[in-house]
């Protein structure tokens, strides 16, 4: 077990990189997922179709394949995802700005995949608001956007937050795949490096890596439990 302390810098570096991609991917997925959710509940049939098609594709495809497409199809199309080299943001998240595009490719795949689940979590919240609320808003003359903004979304948030949290926890765990798609130095790839390249025993390394993920996911889960308990009390 001493490997965790002896090579603490390697574990800490891996933790930091995984945390970075998770923060970025969660932010991106929440934004994109919200957009897709609005499409899916829109009164305009073509927009609804686009939203539904998006969810059908990305919810039903293995993340590994989304990663493959991102890592191989984007370069084939001549893109290094340079639009993600966002000024200032790349100072904090240094991998966004590097010439090697694999971090950006992995980020795109994680965002695209997770957004489908974010969309469905948000939509389940919207569906939890009784139809009469939206009808009353329409009968006052509110437009679709006003209806969402002033009546439906403020009430849907409560029912969305717990499923959303589960989606983000799943995303953190899914990020373990990125090491197989060229990203060097995240938490999972750290294990590969220490065991395959340096010959260290697998189990202690794997325990160190597991602790890294648990540090991210357990507090998030505990926070969700708290929110859920508070809502249960409020509902009484």
């Amino acid at each position: 077990m001493s490997v965790i302390f002896d090579r603490f810098d390697v574990f800490a570096g891996g933790f930091w990189l995984t945390l970075q991609i998770c923060v970025l991917a969660a932010t991106g997925a929440l934004i994109l997922g919200a957009v897709v959710a609005v499409l899916r509940i829109s009164p305009v049939p073509p927009l609804r179709a686009v939203g539904t098609a998006y969810v059908t594709v990305f919810r039903n495809m293995p993340l590994t394949l989304v990663m493959f497409f991102s890592a191989f199809a984007l370069p084939a199309l001549g893109s290094n995802a340079d639009f993600l080299r966002i000024p200032l943001l790349d100072l904090l998240f240094t991998r966004l700005g590097t010439d090697l595009p694999y971090f950006r490719f992995a980020l795109i795949a994680l965002v695209l995949y997770t957004a489908a689940f974010v969309c469905e979590a948000l939509r389940s919240g919207v569906n939890a608001v009784s139809a009469g609320q939206a009808e009353a808003a329409r009968s006052l003359g509110m437009t679709f956007t006003q209806n969402l903004r002033y009546v439906v979304l403020p009430q849907s948030w409560k029912a969305s937050v717990v499923p959303l949290g589960s989606v983000i926890i799943a995303m953190i765990k899914n990020s373990a795949l990125i090491g197989f798609f060229g990203v060097v130095g995240d938490l999972s790839q750290t294990a590969d490096q220490l065991t395959s390249a340096e010959g260290l025993a697998f189990v202690p390394v794997a325990i160190g890596v597991s602790i890294g993920y648990l540090i991210m996911t357990v507090p998030l889960g505990a926070l969700l439990d708290r929110i859920e308990r508070r809502q249960a009390v409020a509902a009484r």
């Binding site: 009164p43 009784s130 009469g132 609320q133 009808e135 009353a136 808003a137 329409r138 009968s139 006052l140 003359g141 509110m142 437009t143 006003q146 002033y150 009546v151 403020p154 009430q155």
Partner: protein, 247 residues
């Protein structure tokens, strides 16, 4: 009379799948008129009421409001709906907003009126329906009858040309029905154009200008309340009245 018509339905049909819930309905409501729609459950009267502001789109026929045919979904329809108030069976007050905010939301966001003026009007409307002292409470803290009176104030805050009531007292405890009907009766006296779907025969008798009887998706009979209750002409209406008036 014809040019005074505010709401006109012509040959309106509505299908829910194979179910023909409105069958060639023709109805004209004049400005200032109070029309009460009665009939057995499933006769299509709620659908008729909801069709007037297109909460329920119709399958064929035309509905005109204030001389304009109902527009398709979009901004024009939203504008029309802002001129037709609606009161629902289940109140549908915005659960996350206070009573006062419920009444103010429409004028503030739909009409973009000044908050101070809206607040003054909202308070005077709440006063009129007898809820002014509860303005800062939330809907769940009020009784059903109080909630429904707030819903009426919310509809009135938009200064509508007509009000639609979809079974406004059907979800209320019997002791609270009276307070809601009192408010509706006073609106009727003040000349508000109203279409009221209800099972309250007392209200139909004393507040309606006209009673419309529906059964099986058809508009079977319409008459003044005096005539309708004394001498129903159709067998269907006689049967319906004999069932509800013997208790």
């Amino acid at each position: 009379m014809a040019d005074e018509a505010l709401i006109v339905l012509e040959n309106v049909n509505k299908w829910f799948g194979p179910l023909h819930v409105l069958q060639d309905v023709n109805l004209s409501v004049a400005r200032g008129e109070v029309v009460v729609v009665i009939g057995p459950s499933g006769s299509g009267k709620s659908t008729l009421c909801r069709a007037i502001n297109r909460l329920e789109p119709i399958s064929s026929g035309t509905i005109t409001f204030d001389g304009q045919p109902l527009p398709a979904e979009g901004r024009a329809l939203a504008k029309l709906r802002s001129e037709v108030g609606m009161v629902f069976q289940s109140f549908n007050l915005f659960a996350h907003k206070s009573i006062l905010q419920n009444v103010m939301l429409g004028p503030l966001k739909v009409r973009k009126e000044k908050p101070a003026a809206v607040k003054e009007r909202a308070m005077s409307l709440l006063d009129r329906v007898g809820i002014a002292s509860q303005a800062d409470k939330f809907p769940a803290q009020l009784s059903g009858g109080q909630q429904q009176r707030v819903a009426i104030a919310r509809a009135l805050a938009m200064q509508p040309k007509a009000l639609l009531f979809d079974e406004p007292t059907s979800a209320l405890d019997p002791e609270m029905v009276g307070e809601v009907l009192d408010v509706m009766t006073s609106l009727a006296r003040d000349g508000m154009t109203m279409v009221v779907v209800t099972h309250e025969m007392g209200f139909a008798r004393h507040a309606a200008n006209r009673v419309v009887f529906m059964a099986d998706g058809q508009l079977v009979e319409q008459n003044t309340p005096e005539e309708f209750f004394a001498n129903p002409t159709s067998e269907r209406a006689r049967d319906f009245l004999s069932k509800i008036l013997t208790h």
